[in-house]
Amino acid sequence: MSEIGTQSNPLRVAIVGAGPTGFYTAEHLFKQKEYVVQVDMFDRLPVPFGLVRYGVAPDHQKIKSVTAVYDRIAQNPGFRFFGNVQIGRDITVTELSRYYHQVVYTTGAQTDRQMNIPGEDLAGSLPATDFVAWYNGHPDFQDYDVDLSHENVAVVGVGNVAMDVARILCRTPEELATTDIADYALEKFRHSNVKNVYILGRRGPAQAAFTTPEIKELGEMEDTDAYVEPEEAALDELSEAALAANSDRATMKKVEVIQSYAGRPSTGKSRRLILRFLVSPVELFGNEDGQVVKMRLVKNKLYKTESGTLRPKATDEFEEIPVGLVFRAIGYRGVPIPGVPFYDSWGVILNREGRVIDPETQAPVTGQYTGGWIKRGPSGVIGTNKPDAQETVQNMLADVAAGQIMRPDHPEAEAAAAMIAEKQPDYFSYDDWLKLNELEIAKGKAQGRPRVKFTSVPEMLAAVGKS
């Protein structure tokens, strides 16, 4: 058999999922000099960039500028993009193995974790991820209905999704109008009645997952006052001791910003963002129409586990707050891909440093890899996926050297392209995306916005002349 990874016989890799990790995986594959590599990247949506486009908040455009890096990666002659192609539906995992030496799954964490409390299914109790996808113009969510006529909203969780949701709810229409928020969402926010937004953390200020810039931003909004109860902003003895022992300056700074909101008098702004600590929702109550109207919270106390972590423990003190909307943002999990081993309780693909593992034998599945949130769970910032992808690529290259790769019947780029075109004639190429991108930017320019997004797949197809 001739050697794989040469000019005449390139290593053919399929990357499933066009988010940050997909692009970093391609980048690491192109950067090494040992093998000639061709990458075909798939996404179930016509357009690339995953959560950078559909997760990162519209008022955080600077974070989205990372797509310039991905554009450069896509310019590599060995790179092709096939959008609007879902692996597991349009093309099976087995079919991929007939055309590629290696497959990498970088599909992210697409669903949310539940609170598992009574009343969670009431109308008005929603996963934050759907709301985020909706205001970001994700094609799956154009028909999503969220009722912003309520005055009191609770956001459960203190991670970056919780921060984004709370902040977007508190922005003025004018603040939002200069972003790339979906038009239909902007329209809805114009008529929002939201007055009080609660952010609920089950531990204290020192354990909150949000970063200092994120929390600082909450205090600098046009028409919203940030507020925290002084007794909840204060650190308990255990947190105080842990902080002093670590002299952890990042956390000290964060706590300082939180405490600067403590007991702040209202400045007359129309909305209030209330940070709550050491509370957990225990039940949601609805009215006769099944609409959530009230939330019961239990107050928590921190205790130290034997391994040193400070964990929340419920006390017997309860409190009720009126809420018409509840967004849960307490964790995310991946969605299994048919034919790929999955570790259900954590919502990740079963893997060892990026190599997909057979649950029976614990041995690596030849030619199958994973990266990003579907590999390690949702954690870190966009850039964290770079070292993550690097680890996977190192193992992929080691396996190529050891001859541990799939042996496809059709290892030719043309054969793969023909198969894809047959399975999904309406696939999007990277050039299609670039065309769409220009149209979006041009439309945005006219309105003083970074872009105006196409929000449905038929619209996207029509825009590049595919329907």
Binding site: A242, E353, I357, Q362, R376, S379, G383, P387, D388
Partner: protein, 144 residues
């Protein structure tokens, strides 16, 4: 960062050994899997101790018949365990304070992984590298 994030890419496999096994078996396992410690489990797969390469080395210095000993003779019995929800930060501190390098992780009382100080350092390094990369990208974008 949570311990879960580290365990997720370790294949959900823990290399274990019985307390009645000989040290020579333990050393072979350590070498074969290229690891620094074994979780010692009873017949019900419950952790009863941990045997680290250090435990073996220390004994080797004073006892040339070390390989004939049983795992139970050298293992550390009072094992501190963690859970996937633990913060890596506090775990690292606990390890430094108590001077050990491996910590078995239990989920619902079941052994689900083992985390080493090296694992934590690597995960934290990757996290910092990622944050620096993201910050740099944003700074560059501002200059456009």
């Amino acid at each position: 960062m949570k311990v879960r994030r580290i365990l997720a890419t370790k294949g959900m496999r823990v290399i274990t050994i019985g307390p009645e096994k000989q040290i020579r078996d333990a050393v072979k396992l350590l070498a074969r899997h290229n690891i620094g410690a074994l979780v010692v489990v009873d017949d019900d797969e419950r952790p009863v101790g941990i045997l680290s390469e250090r435990d073996v080395i220390r004994e080797t210095a004073v006892n040339e018949q070390v390989f004939d000993l049983q795992v139970a003779d050298l293992m550390t019995r009072d094992v501190i365990t963690g859970t996937p929800q633990d913060d890596t930060y506090s775990l690292a501190r606990t390890m430094t304070e108590h001077r050990f390098r491996h910590l078995p992780i239990l989920e619902d009382g079941r052994l689900t992984g083992i985390v080493s100080i090296g694992d934590i350092l690597k995960a934290e390094r990757d996290q910092y590298r990622g944050e620096i990369d993201t910050l740099e990208t944003q700074i560059m974008a501002t200059d456009d």
